[in-house]
């Protein structure tokens, strides 16, 4: 055997093997060393571990780069109570996002593409420390200030029988007492309660019941601009439709198989969300109550808490949109299933 050739052969084999090993191992070491202010950030379904970093600490004013990818399905990244657009995270693909915080405090980040029934749990926090101005703490939500029990049932004592028209209601507004027009009244009273209150007013007595509902609808809808309503619609579709259903009926894909909510099982088991297309559901709730449910969640029903996620503006938009669901459901028969399903 020719030893020279044999040694050359051995050297070749070992060299190629070393290259084969060096590429992944070396690549890994190099990228870990380079990290510094870059955080390797993996998004996974909560069942698979959720965010690879649940809590990130960063100095105020210092940029941090999140080197993001997904290990399973499409996720998204956004920071709560911020107007920055969400970032889509595709499996296997990488996206870098550099963040700089100018105020100290706790920020919440969350996933923005539904990734299974536990999607809403997919959140984490960024602690911003150091010497600098602090994040303004949230003011106490209205429902707490007013002492509203948001867990108590609130069916509307009265509901309209034909769909009210805000346009007609506008023309009758001149009959209203001043308090009816204030934002405070709007925030603290449910449509049904306000209708009852106004029904008792002598100045309103000549209005029919339906006319009065027109007025109440107008009072509600004037609180939200068209932009706000369309924002509310989008937020509802992106965040809520998976559970509440696109129509708000409480038949979203994520709650299939759950029982309907009853007084007996409410608070004890995961149930379907209430049916917003039944006017009794929402017309008996004041905006403050709805806001409370959105902010706090936690009714034992699976409804998440959104206080760290939505800005006040976004909550107002959602609430405004919710009422339109209720108004538009009056006098409408239950939704017919999609026509013409083709057979294989």
């Amino acid at each position: 055997m020719n030893m020279k050739k044999e040694i050359l052969a051995r050297v070749l084999v070992i060299s190629l093997l070393l290259i084969a090993i060096a590429v992944p191992v070396g690549g890994y070491l190099i990228s870990s060393a380079n990290m510094g202010h870059v955080v390797d950030f993996h998004a996974r379904m909560p069942e698979n571990g959720g965010w690879s970093a649940g809590n990130i600490t960063v100095q105020v004013g210092q940029p941090i780069t999140l080197h993001m990818t997904s290990d399973d399905v499409v996720h998204g990244f956004a920071i709560g109570k911020s107007n920055q657009p969400a970032i889509e995270i595709l499996p296997g693909e990488f996206v870098d996002k550099t963040l700089t915080f100018d105020k100290t405090g706790t920020y919440t980040f969350y996933c923005t593409h539904w990734c299974g029934p536990n999607h809403w749990r997919m959140r984490g926090t960024i602690e911003v420390t150091g010497a600098g101005p602090a994040l303004q703490l949230d003011t106490e939500p209205l429902y707490l200030q007013l002492g509203i029990d948001i867990d108590a049932p609130h069916p509307a004592k009265v509901v309209p029988t034909i769909q009210p028209s805000a346009e007609r209601g506008a023309k009758l507004a001149y009959l209203l007492p001043d308090y009816a027009l204030s934002r405070e009244t709007y925030l603290t009273t449910s449509p049904a309660d306000l209708w009852l209150k106004l029904r008792a007013e002598p100045s309103i007595s000549k209005l029919s019941d339906n006319d009065l509902w027109d007025v109440v609808r107008w009072l509600w809808e004037r609180q939200s601009s068209p932009e706000s309503l369309s924002k509310g619609l989008k937020i509802f579709m992106d965040f809520a439709a998976a559970a509440h259903g696109m129509t708000g009926k409480g038949d979203g894909v994520m709650v299939k198989g759950r029982p309907t909510m009853t007084p007996k099982n409410m608070g004890h088991t995961l149930v379907r969300p209430p049916d917003f297309t039944d006017p009794h559901t929402l017309l008996g709730a004041s905006p403050a109550l709805l806001e409370g449910k959105i902010i706090r969640g936690g009714m034992g029903t699976g409804m998440p808490s959104w206080g760290a996620i939505f800005t006040q503006q976004q909550i107002d938009a959602i609430v405004g949109y919710l009422y339109t669901i209720a108004w538009n459901s009056v006098g409408v028969s239950p939704a017919t299933p999609t026509q013409e399903v083709s057979h294989p």
Binding site: V74, M246, V253, Q339
Partner: protein, 168 residues
Amino acid sequence: MDANSSHPAKVARSKLWFYGPVFVVIVLLILLVPLPQAASTPTDRTIRIEASRFQFVPGEIHVNPGDKVTVELISQDVVHGLSLDNYNFNLQAEPGQIVTGTFIANQSGVFRFRCSFTCGNLHPFMIGKLTVGSNYLLIRGIALAGLAVAGAFLSMWFSTTRHSQGVR
């Protein structure tokens, strides 16, 4: 008899030069000749497809050629997509939100539709099947298979004929 013109080898070879191209032409005809689709008025259809990991329900869909097909795609769990082979048709479905798209089924045959957003390990095999009209390719395939058997016998008969005439 003239030795050259009727030599067994030459006779066999000339037969091959005849039957060979005939065979090829028949194969091409079977594969490529346009077959008329059963006459049917194109209709508008709406099909609701539920996408989940890792299947489409319904997984098999049948429409007529020329139909205007509206697909309502709704995802049950994570972001899925639907991409239809041969048609430039792509949808992305966020769970809980119906996304619709429309196309005209102007190509006949069987087309697979696939999930176009990675949704987990079995994602590459999240497949459904759309049949437009009749699956003529399958019929062509069966005809070609029959021809294959017949052709095989013929080609064997050829070699034995050549062998028995002392031709190698």
